[in-house]
Symmetry: C2
């Protein structure tokens, strides 16, 4: 049974210091998760927006590559051809903007519940692929290096970018590893028969649905032999779209992936998928029902309600420790015995 | 000045034997180009559709993976929720179909003009990524092997697939090299500072335009470090969308790419781009005006009119020999002196 932490959320927007005085933090969610020594590290996604007390204008925060800084682009409410009807977006005749911008920030904890959040961003938008922000980090530990894949959003599309760190203090960038559109990249923690593998979620314009694919690499930078792994399922809790969520981890029976699925009306739940240990492009089993779905008030109400979304878990002592974004607003914590997940897969 | 062959088109649909008696060839176009010994090889894209004399039904040809054959899916004209208004498509509530299906077929010539076309397909749809057909081959010769990238179309999206051959008789498949959506993949004919490069054209759902990207690979299978190379240009002949067309070839000043650009109302022309010889992700020069645009009747009228589209050229004796699809219907031939292209780039 899922055990939610009784004092959820564990991190709220008001717990986070804005990156500058004219911005406010509106969401802290979808953190990458790692263990470094005896600490739990969260690489939080922090979404900020410019404080705006003038109802005549809408503001889009955008990273300006030449100025190497986030600038505020203002639009009058009566700007011709612009659509401000959804507060998350500004749609203009030439391109779309987002009304918030995300960066990644480290938080540390010894007990896995109480986190010390850094006062400044750890990884911020820094190039043409990131002008609308960086989002939803996944962390994979390989040979004493932490590889971080995150979504880089810009007017060039949604790409997946790779960075790495050894200490969560200094970070190194390695470029775009999946061309647009692609997000939800989870790199497996070890080579399988000499190749790295990663789950990923392309999205398409003409044919195709938002499904999970799996790709191979010799070097973590170049990816190929892309294969369709699993799709949304008509008549199920994941009938709208699916994507990988947590970095896969090894269990006796194979690779366990905690993924997210949405209904057609955007209720986001978590499910599990068991992948073949040697041929991870083969799905052995998949949850008929979600292993976690939004039920608590803090999961149902928020910036974007009815959402449970994880970017990482810790698996130890037969328990899956889930760090998750709830309602796209705050970070929460829950524990699920591995046995319950295996049961949900029909394997116990 | 562009010298079109006086008896264009050089290959017409009626010159091609259908792959089966109940199909008709409607288009032969967008051929990959190679030289093998003293022969010019075209790897033609041949689009066929089921012969249909029953106006009450619409038919979509689809490769059936289990049957390992192309089957005909029939729809009644009064099928609820279906849209048959564009004769190229069948749109149903669950997915979209194409009313034709393409395969690749070898044609050989000693003079580069008169081609002997094989009687049967050389590469046909054969897996889940190809159920709607395979299209628009580009051929790159590396170390006595011809690498063929082509678009694989299916209900999973538009991917780029890699195959290879040494003789254009036996072909080997190597998997999906660019996840959906991506097409127009041109692999450079040699490594640059130890890395392979390829142009490609992702298309996106949320942000971004249909632009040319450049990617790197250690092994031709896995691709990464994706970079945005060049975009459509407002106010120019290529203001709608662009994509790589011919496999880039080396000139004294760098890498010359003949690319295609479309206006917003779908007039497809060819232009040139000069890329840095050592850093091919840098554009040195780009055609202000098209080097070739549809003017002849056979370029203006056809299955999809106002289109000139090349997938390969031969560069020899200071002349660029362009094999191109015209009006998405037939194969044509033209010669352009390299000097004229360099002049169009402002470099002569």
């Amino acid at each position: 049974m899922v055990q939610r932490y009784i004092h959820n959320p564990i991190i709220r927007p008001q717990d986070v210091k804005p990156s500058r005085p004219d911005f406010e933090v509106i969401c802290v969610f979808n953190a990458g998760v790692a263990k470094l020594g005896d600490e739990v590290i969260l690489l939080l996604r922090i979404a900020e927006r410019p404080i705006n007390q003038n109802s005549d204008i809408h503001i889009a925060p955008v990273y300006d590559v030449e100025k190497a800084a986030i600038i505020k682009k203002s639009f009058n409410t009566d700007e011709p051809g612009c659509d401000f009807s959804d507060s998350r977006w500004i749609r203009t005749p030439s391109t779309n903007y987002i009304t918030s911008i995300s960066h990644l920030r480290v938080a540390r904890s010894r007990d896995g519940i109480n986190f010390e959040i850094e006062e400044t961003p750890s990884v911020s938008p820094a190039n043409i692929y990131e002008v609308y922000g960086i989002e939803d980090a996944r962390i994979t530990s390989i040979d004493n290096t932490f590889y971080i894949s995150y979504s880089a959003i810009s007017d060039l599309g949604i790409t997946s970018y790779l960075a790495s760190t050894k200490d969560f203090i200094k970070f190194q960038r390695h470029g775009v590893i999946f061309h647009p559109d692609n997000k939800d990249v989870e790199i497996f923690p070890e080579k399988i028969n000499g190749r790295y593998y990663a789950l990923n979620r392309p999205s398409m314009s003409h044919f195709g649905k938002m499904d999970i694919w799996i790709s191979e690499s010799p070097d973590l930078i170049s990816w190929g032999n892309h294969r369709h792994l699993a799709g949304a399922r008509e008549g199920y809790w994941d009938n709208g779209r699916i994507g990988g969520s947590a970095v896969p981890f090894r269990v006796k029976e194979g690779w366990l992936e905690i993924y997210h699925g949405a209904t057609k009306d955007d209720k986001y739940c978590l499910g599990a998928m068991l992948l073949d240990p040697e041929q991870p492009w083969k799905v052995i089993a998949r949850s008929e029902k979600p292993i976690m779905e939004p039920v608590e008030d803090y999961e149902i109400n928020g910036f974007f309600g009815n959402v449970i979304f994880t970017c990482g878990v810790i698996y130890e002592n037969d328990v899956v420790k889930v760090y998750y974004g709830a309602a796209d607003t705050h970070m929460c914590y829950a524990e699920i015995p591995i046995e319950d997940i295996m049961t949900s897969l029909g394997l116990k």
